[in-house]
């Protein structure tokens, strides 16, 4: 299934994607692409379809129509190799979802050992490395509930990084955090962007999106309503985006 990717080919591409939950049309012909090393911010009101679009990329939602290609995997097809896809894609959720019965180290080493067959000692070295990346080396042997929300989210990012994904998806990862904890998580994401990680993020942090995103996709009623560089946030062209950024969202 996986073709050789040339460096110019997009890592993620959605073409005319359709998705309904019952009678509710959540995605109505959504198209966008993400190039290697690009940071794309998906913004929009609650219910605009941005989270659903993100979840379709990792096939947590099956699409009704259209085409999704991620790292060469045809995600819209029923025969897509899910495990291969998910080794290429890392996803981080709003609610962290660390495994509560495992230490941070075990949370991180589980997938590399179980999925990639990595030796335990090698996986432990890797755990130390990715935890250092998010500034949590000293929490190696702690359990999730002993960590603050911000620390749990950084540990969840480290857990994803340990699988060495080609693209990372962030689904409102700071929505459950206070401003101070939000800042420490955003710092980690900023560093990832600086290291050249390809990322798609659903976010309500407009100031952050403006600072980090190479491109903004503004969704409205299941459609891509306006798209462009981060500067569209300060000079939007559609009335909907004007209203969206004008409602106090752009405080940073």
């Amino acid at each position: 299934m996986q073709q050789n990717l040339s460096s110019t080919e997009p890592i993620v591409s959605l073409h005319n994607v359709q998705k309904s939950f019952g009678p509710l049309r959540v995605l109505d012909g959504v198209s966008f692409t993400v190039a290697r090393g690009e940071v794309l911010a998906l913004i929009g009101r609650s219910g605009s379809g941005k989270s659903t679009a993100l979840r379709c990329i990792d096939r947590f939602e099956k699409v009704d129509g259209g085409e999704i290609v991620v790292c060469g995997h045809r995600v819209d097809r029923p025969d897509v190799d899910l495990r291969a896809l998910r080794q290429d894609v890392g996803i981080v959720f709003q609610s962290y979802n660390l495994f509560p019965h495992l230490t941070i180290e075990q949370n991180i080493t589980l997938a590399p050992c179980a999925v990639k067959g990595m030796a335990a000692s090698q996986a432990k070295d890797l755990a130390r490395k990715v935890l250092a990346q998010v500034g949590l080396e000293e929490k190696l042997h702690a359990y999730p509930e002993q960590l603050s929300g911000g620390q749990q989210q950084r540990a969840a990012i480290a857990r994803s990084l340990a699988m060495q994904p080609k693209v990372m998806l962030f689904d409102e990862v700071t929505s459950a955090l206070d401003p101070e904890l939000t800042a420490e998580v955003l710092k980690v994401i900023e560093q990832l962007a600086a290291d050249g990680m390809t990322m798609v993020m659903v976010t309500h942090e407009m100031g952050f999106a403006k600072g980090i995103a190479d491109r903004i996709v503004f969704m409205h009623r299941g459609k891509v309503h306006e798209t462009g560089p981060a500067s569209i946030l300060t000079s939007p062209t559609t009335p909907e985006l004007t209203q969206f950024v004008g409602t106090g969202n752009l405080k940073s």
């Binding site: 899910l82 998910r86 959720f93 979802n97 509560p100 179980a114 999925v115 699988m163």
Partner: protein
């Protein structure tokens, strides 16, 4: 009213009491281990998308939960006999108790599985773990942890209920008591002693489960909240 209790006459049969108590504990041990396995499998089976497997598991659980244990024991006992299969009373008792407690365990474990937040499973899927790996690494222990007190009670109850195995002459504690009281004509004393022994066995089992919990849930030990 003139109540006269003569414990020495009964207590001199202590080796028999002890042997009966040991057999009760042995019955409970095997039925607990096998029943836990059977029940967990049935709970997983009930949750699968395969409607044939899910249906079979449901029929098993509901049949057992809606018939008396004694009838189940007789069904296994006479059923095997009429098929020409000869097993010891102990084996039949273990089999019947396993089938019985498996059904209750399945219901308890199902509650445990359903209590695992959907996000845990999505996170595991996102890390490319397979269905089986997710059950094994992510769902099983936290599910057991959530229902551990209920499981403990169920298995202690099974040990107490094993007294009806006296009906197929498995030589467990109650069967032993029946012999002793008919020998000594000291029924009240005999059953007082047996009741005390059952209390002790229950406490032994609860202590066993508590210790097992320390091994199964190291996080609770670390955080000082053992079950």
């Amino acid at each position: 009213m003139n109540l006269q209790l003569d414990f020495p006459a009964v207590l001199e049969r202590w080796p028999s009491f002890l042997a009966g108590a040991a057999l009760t504990l042995e019955l409970a041990f095997f039925a607990t281990v096998l029943g836990a396995l059977l029940g967990t499998l049935a709970a997983v089976g009930r949750g699968t998308r395969n409607s044939l497997i899910a249906g079979a598991c449901k029929v098993y659980v509901e049949t057992i939960r809606n018939t008396p244990l004694l009838v189940q024991i007789f069904l296994v006992y006479f059923g095997l006999a009429s098929l020409g299969l000869k097993y010891s009373a102990f084996t039949v008792a273990v089999a019947a108790l396993t089938i019985n407690v498996g059904a209750y365990t399945a219901e308890i474990m199902r509650a445990g599985f359903e209590a695992i937040p959907r996000g845990q499973i999505e996170a595991a899927e996102g890390l490319a773990l397979s269905r089986l790996q997710i059950y094994w690494h992510i769902i099983l222990l936290p599910a057991i942890e959530k229902v551990y007190p209920a499981l403990t009670s169920q298995f202690v109850l099974l040990m107490l209920a094993s007294s009806v195995c006296s009906q197929i002459s498995a030589e467990e504690l109650t069967a032993v008591a029946n012999y002793i009281q008919s020998d000594t004509y000291r029924a009240f004393e005999t059953y007082i002693i047996v009741a005390v022994l059952y209390v002790i066995l229950s406490l032994v089992m609860r202590a066993g489960f508590w210790s097992l919990g320390l091994v199964l849930f190291p996080r609770r030990r670390r955080l000082g909240t053992p079950l």
